[in-house]
Symmetry: D4
């Protein structure tokens, strides 16, 4: 990871790491530089403010933010930054992530968060790549290859099942 | 409203005013000074930060915050201020306020929001009074009187129905 | 703050104890005296009545009440006492605490319960401290310190993750 | 069955009357004496206690209790009285009565409430009759006749539709 | 179990037995005769019809019916019999019994089912006893004693906790 | 309607007619004979039994059954008849048809109901046609034509919008 | 399995196999030829298109499609093919299959999916048999026998329990 | 609209137009070229395939897709195209758009849809602009200006309320 990161992966708590590292993994597979850290909207509001405020000028182009429960991190970062923000609703023990999902997706007019499925940080990574693919043709190409790989995998498994 | 306000009533949008003014009304009935303004976590994050940061030193003792949808205002203010924050989930057109409720009540450990029922800003006002009643015996007394009035009203209506 | 408890922690059943003791623990950390007992709205209605009726005169200033399912304890105590009542919805095996949450938070106008997240008795303890902080500056100060500690913990974990 | 009411119909608020009077109507149709009044668990807890405590000795044999939101009336009355208590979850404006339903039906072991459908006070009246039918053969007979009438009505409507 | 059973406990499948036997147990504690069998509305519709049709003349006075998922047994039996029918929504693996609850409680006007909490067959047994208590004073007395025992148990546990 | 009906459309109440007649309309469009009547599982259980028992020998090949709330009609008919049964969950005033949907779709193993969307009796009609299309090639052909018509309608509307 | 398959069982992922093979098993019990493979609407959209397009001409008469989460496979296949399509909502780890159920059942007017209960692929197999039974009397007969077997099993278990 | 469109706005039905035109409006405000048409996944699957397949080569850089109920359009387009796809869950009459939301957001790993709030096509437009802002600095600048305008509007309304 020598080059400047294009994607900032943040999460509200280190307990979200097992979920969120899937976003990192997929970006690595795509060869996209990223940074990953903990930024809690509730426990470190100033750190969150600073992160959201400075991400753009530090060269970050897409932010992936994961949080659970009353998940305010993605929405608050989206409100402060001009970058596209992808929200990952982290599954919770009591309401299974329905609370996280609604807290992230139901943003008021003016401040969107690009929300993916509950716990699906992998898709957040892919979506970040698709967004970067708008600008970087080589990333777009990698997405096409990734889709091809997925297709082949399914077809191989289909063959196995059919045999 | 000559004396310094003890309660700060804030809301995410002026569309929340018909709901939130019920909190103001009940505080007026109790003779408790309050201030009321619009502070949007998403559209004015810096104003929100400033409000939450300065409320305590300005003499505010309880904050009542109402918001709808991905309702981040109460939780963000609670994360920044040391004051007790009461959250009012405002009813939404699609999910009827279940989104607002979960976004406000499901706060992570460390940063509570004292959540009341959907659209029940009146109860937010009463709860603010109960909290102030811990410190001000005259407010505690007014709560007792209020409960007495409620009881009498029910009993009168019961009599009417029984007749 | 010599010996008389300021906070009364009650719960509907001894099975709620593993959840509710988190409220006690946080109050201990803050050096706030509390009492803790079992008061079932449904199995000991008279005991509940008596507890709610006498708490104020015994010097209790905030009540924390936890219950699950058709959770009536917080609301009933709030209806009888003039003290602020914090409700902790305890997670249930079938509906995961959604029943507890709605039974506690959806109180009618006139009788608020300051509801926290499902199973989040820790936040109930912190909220109790914030409410007492309105009256006791030394408790307010401890909340500020607690928030500082939380912030530092997150920042340390962030550093570890970034390394 | 001369004059003393056998069924006590109570409701948390006079706003529940349009719903609850359907229970009264069906009891009238069955010729069963009833009384109807307002008893709020939250606004008149002592009145509720007294009502539940004394209903049995006053000759009431079944209680029908309707309430909405954090609906504690049926459960609290069931906890105090030894009579069977039928709960009617009244529809609410925000959560459509799902809150009322869960607050009434999800009672803990030891204190059942015989819950009927949201807003279905008519069924509460019929259920009260079925319960009284265990003791009074003439009421049992009327239930059989009522079912016969229902059947005939459906069959007539079916004929109309088929023509 | 020499005398004629007063309560018929039926369930849709033998997999409901671990839940439903709690109803039997509480009836045994109260000394109330019962019978218990499997009657599936879906797999044995004629058996169900026959059971519901003949229960009354066989001397059954209350029916307790448990079922899960699209739980039609309680409602169908209630439609055929003139006896009060208590429904126990059995918890399901996918929707946790919310499907069972709604399938049982949301009966149309004319055919009530006295619904208890999800999996709470114990309460179904107690409710059956309360209903029989309308007719049999000795059962009413046992309910009063049961409530007293519950109260004492809570108070003992409260003492232990307070020590 | 001269020829013997192939589809039996039944509904629990005449209030379901505005919804259910859409099934009839689509069958008419396809030129498929049908019959339509009211059969209430709860208010006319014997009529329901008889209908389900005799439908097959009367020449009915598919049954479409609509019901709301604790909607037992489709499932009960499916349990008695060997014909494929299509269930239409009718929207309800309190729970918007979620209760109807779960009561119909969550059938236990052994007795399926082919469930369509809430209030979507039109789709029940189309599904009935698709099922009959397995046997009758001319109906299969009509479905293909219907799909073609739908496609053309969308494309025309698309053109209008694009202009 | 020498003859041409009448039922095509497809699933979105090989992780759905433990659920979906129950459909295969029941078809085997009924002696109905089937084929089973993996067709992902999202990862192999062209394969899905091809499968849906060609199923009819290959002699398939009913399609059973299982998928989880944003489950688009059944609906997309139903939109492309003129065959009846049975949808099996596969249980998901976060929302327990409620997402799968709504994604499958709530199809717009014009394109029905015959939806069965969450994870209930067995019922999908039985429903496929019932649909084929419209055309093939010998399959209809097997369904009648299956129902008879179910009935006997329940009655035997009932006897065991009663003893 | 002379220049080549960068954003493709598609919807499943012309009934979605009142919702979806908000996306168009916001893009117009930002001076971003777009095209808008109807593409139904269910009624015009081939048109959908073609649209998704060709959008990229036609110069579209972001797709906004709105649909209701079992909303498959956004997910299917995302599965076929390599472009970032934004999904707008359209509110439905029965389940208020919860079905649309879950059908769109709960996509399986590999195929993300950037989901916004129910009916919030405006936010879809803004998110499209934010994504394009990654590539086009002048669009990024407009987002910053838009956020500034939002802030000012709130502050003006706050002033009015405070006066």
């Amino acid at each position: 990871m020598l080059k400047k990161p294009l994607v900032g992966i943040i999460m509200g708590s280190d307990s979200d790491l097992p979920v969120m590292k899937e976003a990192a993994k997929v970006l690595e597979d795509f060869g996209i530089e990223y940074e990953m850290t903990i930024v809690s909207a509730h426990r470190t509001p100033e750190r969150m403010f600073k992160y959201a405020k400075e991400a753009e000028e530090r060269g970050i182009e897409v932010i992936v933010a994961g949080a659970g429960g009353a998940a305010h991190l993605p929405g608050m970062v989206a409100s402060i930054s001009n970058l596209p923000v992808i929200g990952v609703p982290v599954k919770t023990s009591s309401l299974n992530g329905l609370d996280s999902l609604l807290s992230i997706v139901q943003m008021p007019a003016g401040v969107p968060v690009a929300t993916v499925a509950i716990n699906n940080a992998k898709n957040a990574g892919i979506l970040a790549a698709e967004i970067l693919g708008v600008k970087y043709p080589e990333i777009r190409k990698k997405i096409a290859e990734y889709k091809e790989r997925m297709k082949n995998e399914v077809e191989e498994k289909a063959k196995e099942l059919e045999e």
